[in-house]
């Protein structure tokens, strides 16, 4: 076989080279090709092997790109962003590109070995906002817009997370590695967002009354169950040294109406209440941490807005509010609205996330609830309950933050809930594992039964699926080696 470099064709196709070398200098042209031309994909139209299908830009310089590329022709990608009169160059972003499999692209380009879809979330430092943007890929103009809309950070985050949902919906084995590549960009975005949030006190009453425990209820948007919840709690709180701290994330209602409702409730019940409205959605951790920060009680009760004492069994439930958790963390038995068992502690266990085609293999953690789905009922006798929970360990388990009891000093010592989980999911398991690793007890109060009106499963919005996926990956990386993971054999049989 004989291989021939077509130097005349190379010079003719690339006018700059023809002008420099003419089309006869086969040595110089070959040298240029080997040194530059091959990498620059001279003679190939960029749009034929790479497409940017989505571009979002925040006012802070966060960029989200999504599209596809033929990795055989685009194995190394440099990006330049020309924004107004500033150009920002990034030499090698290989590690920031998150690649995933796209069958539609594979069918078109013929490459079934390498993932061809990509998502990139990054930030341009020292960004100078402008509406005109041009993106250069490997030095070639690839995207141009004179009227780019700059999104607020929150809107951008929603866009970016929604873009990532395509990964969240894939098999965990094929996407775990992708999550790792996305993590720096998304985490930076989340931290920027959190830093900018603020809390305003909408209402406060009873601030002069002594308090020894604080019930912190962090609510995302929907306050439809708030007033019924306060009413059912009122008998335990009326005239007692307790306070209720409401933290509202992304509250979309009318604040004066809510203030009126709380005021009207306060007229009927001697309960210290304060309402703190976040400027955005601080998520479960930061919202509850803010509640803990303003709390006056020595004991903190973290309670979801859909937690209720069971009808006719209020006293045993209220005893949970009055108890002392000591140096540990306590949870309670939770039942669905229909009375069936929902939560009697949790454990975390590891599966293997495998992408055989890429040779990827890594543990991925899963959190399971003991007893979920058992026929145990909130009205069961203590004996029936003991039988239902016979396999649930007394120690080393995790408890859901839907209802927690912990001393404020312990909570603060542990650094509060981790805020590096985006919005929600897995932060309570993280906190429990850290408690266990610190040698502190995590207990399930089997004498305390509550209703958790978690409702039926509804389709989760795309951004939330992405959050769960990213948080799970984050949780898995952090605790993959934890000694408190339940062994696989236990997971196979225990309920």
């Amino acid at each position: 076989m004989r291989t021939t470099f077509l130097h005349k064709q190379y010079a003719d196709d690339n006018g700059d080279l023809g002008e420099l070398y003419g089309n006869e200098d086969d040595v110089a042209l070959r040298e240029h090709y080997d040194k530059y031309g091959q990498n620059e994909r001279r003679g190939v139209t960029l749009a034929d092997y790479m497409r940017i299908e989505k571009m979002a830009l925040s006012e802070d310089g966060h960029v989200c790109l999504a599209g596809w590329a033929d990795r055989r022709l685009a194995d190394r990608i440099t990006l330049s962003f020309v924004v107004g009169y500033m150009q920002y160059d990034f030499d090698d972003l290989s590690d920031r590109f998150c690649w995933y499999r796209r069958l539609d692209v594979a069918e078109a380009i013929g490459d079934f070995d390498r993932p061809s879809g990509f998502v990139l979330v990054m930030r341009i430092p020292d960004f100078d906002p402008h509406s005109a943007i041009t993106i250069l890929v490997n030095g070639k103009e690839h995207f141009q817009s004179a009227t780019t809309r700059l999104m607020s950070v929150q809107k951008f985050m929603t866009e970016a997370l929604t873009t990532c949902a395509v990964l969240a919906d894939g098999a965990i084995g094929t996407t775990m590695d992708a999550a790792r590549h996305l993590a720096p960009g998304i985490t930076e975005l989340w931290e920027t967002y959190l830093d900018r949030l603020s809390f305003s006190c909408l209402y406060e009453t009873g601030a002069d009354r002594p308090v020894n425990r604080s019930i912190i209820i962090t609510i995302y948007r929907d306050i439809s169950m708030l007033m019924p919840q306060l009413e059912t709690l009122a008998p335990a709180l009326d005239g007692q040294p307790a306070e209720v701290i409401l933290v509202l994330n992304e509250f979309t209602g009318e604040t004066h109406v809510l203030a009126d409702q709380i005021a009207a409730f306060s007229q009927l019940h001697e309960v210290s209440i304060s309402v703190h409205v976040c400027s955005g959605n601080s998520g479960f951790s930061a919202g509850n941490n803010h509640g803990a920060k303003v709390a006056r009680g020595e004991v903190l009760i973290f309670m979801n807005p859909d937690i209720f004492p069971p009808e006719g069994q209020e006293e045993q439930a209220f005893a949970f509010l009055a108890g002392d958790p000591g140096e540990g963390l306590d949870g309670a038995l939770l039942y669905y609205g229909d009375g069936s068992l929902m939560h009697s502690g949790m454990y975390t266990t590891a599966d293997m996330a495998v992408d055989a085609r890429q040779g990827f293999s890594e543990p991925v953690l899963r959190v399971e609830h003991y007893g979920k789905g058992l026929t145990a009922h909130v009205d069961d006798s203590p004996e029936e309950l003991a039988e239902a929970l016979r396999e649930v360990p007394e120690e080393g388990l995790l408890v859901t933050a839907a209802l927690w009891r912990i001393r404020k000093a312990v909570f603060d010592e542990m650094g509060g809930l981790p805020t590096d989980y985006i919005i929600a999911y897995y932060e309570d398991a993280d906190f429990c594992l850290k408690m266990l690793e610190a040698g502190r007890p995590v207990r399930l109060d089997r004498g305390s039964r509550w209703i958790h009106m978690e409702g039926v499963s509804k389709p989760r919005p795309a951004r939330l699926r992405a959050v769960m996926w990213l948080n799970r990956a984050h949780y898995s990386r952090r605790f993959a080696g934890s000694p408190f993971l339940a062994p696989a054999a236990t997971d196979l049989s225990q309920l």
Partner: protein, 451 residues
């Protein structure tokens, strides 16, 4: 005894069965020399701004003594709560000023269940009686216990079943709704039900039967002394009196009448005295149009328009028979009392409280709800049957009078106050040292309220 009627609406603001009953009982109480009566009507201030005064939670009703209005601005129509601090202050003061021994609640719409908690705080010694006018505590579907999506009366009111009517809501929400009503109702001393049927539905729902007393809604008679009932020559004029809304079954009446006209070839006339046609659904109006489309000339349908208590006797006298073809389980059926007052036999569906009241062949006839064929058979029996009509017109008993109803209420009041020393003759206990608004002068400021 000081007696406070706390109602939804006042007939002068908006006509309706519950407010008529409340006002009648208030008037009867006011006429009782042993009673000092006050009436406070909660209204939707947004709908009736002419009765609202800026910054005033309670206002007087013009030219009325001891009758007041309480216009509200916001109402949670799912949980039936007001949560209005300005109103709470004003109402607490109102209660302290009037110090009623007995408070009679006539609804939770715009009254708000939180008012019960307030009463208990401000006047712990006062007794609360509550008339169950409809099924709203059980049924969020306009309190009608009727499954529009299935076309039948709702017999199973468990929370998961409610999502059939409200698929956008969860079972948990309905569990909470029921819990909210029942916990508020736990603070009520006695319930009044206008019919056995309604009582039983509430017993099935969870109220103790012992706490519910059945007292029919009293009727204020309009029939002059010596009235001799007359009928049309053909005894073929049927009247519908009521709201022109889906659940009232006008379509059933029209279908039955058409069937009679078509099968017998005899003339049949239907007079519709109905208001609130604007609340009927487009589908329902289409359904009615379809029934009348191509009807034979023997069927004459006249849409007369709305009526009031002031002219209902005369209007009833212009028909021979009165139809109450409701497909929902009516709680009582005030129109039946009005028909009997005018000596008109009633053809009523066997739905809810109506079935309690009809004595077959004595004061009317009954038919299966929604059955136009059964109603058509009854209409055929009735048309031209002077002997039947005369016997019924002469022999049908009247519904109890308002005064009789008040006397029955007095018995209930005596019962619920029997264990309260001095409650009836003296002042109710006041929670002088209660925290919150109960024992506090009304200068206590709350956010968003004017001083």
């Amino acid at each position: 005894m000081k007696f406070l009627t706390l109602s939804l609406y006042h007939p002068r603001v908006m006509r309706g069965g519950a407010q008529y009953v409340a006002k009648d009982l208030h008037d009867a109480a006011a006429a009782d020399p042993q009673v000092e009566a006050v009436m406070l009507a909660a209204i939707d201030g947004n709908r009736f701004p002419q009765y609202s005064k800026v910054g005033a939670a309670i206002t007087a009703l013009p030219d009325s003594e001891d009758e007041f209005l309480m216009p509200g601005r916001r109402f949670d129509d799912f949980f039936h709560r007001m949560y209005d601090p300005r109103r709470n202050k004003a109402l607490a003061r109102f209660l302290r000023d009037h110090r009623p021994d007995v408070i009679h609640l006539h609804h939770s719409l715009w009254v708000g269940l939180d008012v019960i908690e307030l009463i208990r705080k401000v006047l712990p010694g006062a007794r609360i009686i509550y008339t169950l006018h409809e099924y709203l505590p059980i049924c969020h579907r306009q309190g009608q216990l009727y499954r529009y999506h299935e076309g039948g009366i709702c017999q199973d009111t468990r929370p998961d079943q409610c999502t059939g009517c409200f698929p956008e809501r969860t079972t948990d929400e309905f569990i909470l709704r029921r819990r909210g009503f029942q916990s508020a109702f736990a603070r009520v001393d006695r319930f009044i039900a206008p019919s056995d049927y309604l009582k039983q539905r509430y017993v099935d729902w969870g109220l103790d039967a012992d706490r519910i007393t059945v007292i029919a809604n009293g009727h204020r008679r309009r029939r002059p002394e010596g009235f001799v009932p007359q009928h049309s020559p053909g005894l073929n004029v049927f009247g519908f009196f009521g709201q022109f809304v889906d659940a009232k079954g006008i379509d059933v009446a029209l279908k039955a009448a058409r069937r009679v006209a078509e099968t017998t070839g005899k003339p049949v006339e239907i007079k519709v005295f109905g208001g609130n046609k604007e609340y009927a659904t487009a589908d329902y109006l289409d359904k009615i149009e379809a029934v009348l489309d191509g009807a034979p000339p023997e069927l004459v349908v006249t849409e007369v328009g709305s009526y009031s208590r002031d002219n209902v006797f005369e209007l009833m006298s212009s028909v021979d028979w009165v139809l109450t073809p409701s497909i929902w389980p009516e709680t009582f059926g005030l129109v039946v009392s009005e028909a009997w007052d005018a000596r008109r036999p009633v053809l009523a569906s066997r739905a809810g409280g109506l079935s309690d009241r009809i004595i077959e062949g004595v004061n009317g006839f009954s038919f299966l709800p929604g059955s136009d064929t059964e109603l058509a058979q009854l209409m055929q029996i009735c048309i031209g049957n002077a002997e039947l009509w005369q016997s019924m017109a002469q022999e049908m008993p009247d519904e109890i009078s308002v005064e009789d109803a008040w006397a029955a209420h007095r018995a209930v009041i005596a019962d619920v106050t029997a264990d309260v020393s001095g409650a009836v003759s003296g002042a109710p206990e006041e929670a002088a040292d209660e925290p919150g608004i109960a024992g506090r002068p009304d200068s206590g400021a709350a956010p968003g309220t004017a001083g």
